[in-house]
Symmetry: none
Amino acid sequence: MALTKRQKEFLEFLAGFLEKRGYSPSYEEIAEGLNLASLATVHKHILALEGKHYLKRGFNQSRSLELAPKYYEEMRQHRPPAVEVPLLGRIAAGSPVEAIAGQDSLNFADFAADPGTYALQVRGESMIEDHICDGDYVLVQKSGDARDGDIVVALVDGVETTLKRFYNEDGDRVRLQPANSTMQPIYVPKQSVRIQGKVLAVLRKY
Amino acid sequence: MALTKRQKEFLEFLAGFLEKRGYSPSYEEIAEGLNLASLATVHKHILALEGKHYLKRGFNQSRSLELAPKYYEEMRQHRPPAVEVPLLGRIAAGSPVEAIAGQDSLNFADFAADPGTYALQVRGESMIEDHICDGDYVLVQKSGDARDGDIVVALVDGVETTLKRFYNEDGDRVRLQPANSTMQPIYVPKQSVRIQGKVLAVLRKY
DNA sequence: TATTTTAGGCGAAGAAAAGGGGAATTTCAA
DNA sequence: TTGAAATTCCCCTTTTCTTCGCCTAAAATA
């Protein structure tokens, strides 16, 4: 059972009211919101939408309108091309899977929410102690600056691009710290390093 | 029962309308969208497509057109829900970004391509030497069996669920190997372990 | 090749939903 | 008890769907 134009407007008004005010509107308020002169019309819309299972209500109860699950399902479908997988819980060695309260899916769209996000594939072992391995992908958000401890993509002297942890040092210098005890940190003047982005996430495919 | 050219156009228009507006178009609107002068023609198309099970509708009901499951099945290959980020190249310590030939974007849909894919958040350090850390998410593909060396979600004795590397051993036993030298491998008879899935990917958010 | 079927199309008339209104009535909770 | 809110009844207009002929071209069939 599909929605009509007006019914969709009705639901959107209701969703907005619920969202903003936290409680159900009265018929009077709905009539006002939708430019209707008669409460009978409001009532009819409610009966229709209840019949289509888009909303629930209590009979003869004031301000008892609720959006039904069907509404939310449909809104999720139509809106973002969300690629998501169910997030079932947490797993640890030797214990059953714990369920996670609240969040119940992992949405990839979150990772690419910012239009300036891009990916790089990592070469080498320079971040191995941060558990970023050869072949992993890093999702990088374009950003001109970084805070201490951020993992950044840095352009040094206009030629070398490296993946390192970023730290401010005394005397207008910065330290670019690899996460590999066999490698030395790089100390460079602030002016000769440009932060191209911060690592938001790491992705590894097997 | 295959679609004709015009019928395909019809469905595509309908899908577009539904997607954008969130409700079904009227015959009038369809006629306009497809450059038809008569509502009778629209009606005929609808009857034809209903007969072929590509859409559902309510008799005599306004704006009640819905795409049937058959439509989505058939259009699946046409619909990459493309949440993707550009993949700019490879990065290594001390060298410029190399461009990657061929692949130039990282598509998240690939990770969840199989409908049985789910995510788990990792607790603890038992896979730390495989660079899977506390808090990381693993994407798991449901699968009853595993090959030696796969990282699997295994249910042992019907109670314990663990994340381990899987190896077949002599004598109808399997070894579940943590990637942490402080922890011991588990040896169990094949019958008392059930593989719930294989880890396809690891995801870490900062 | 002649004939029938089918997809696609046009217009207009008729019928049923959907949308809307006014006013009286019932309900519920304060 | 009383007022605010929900429900009902009856009526109206507009929108939308359905049906009935009638047409052409292409495809299938005899």
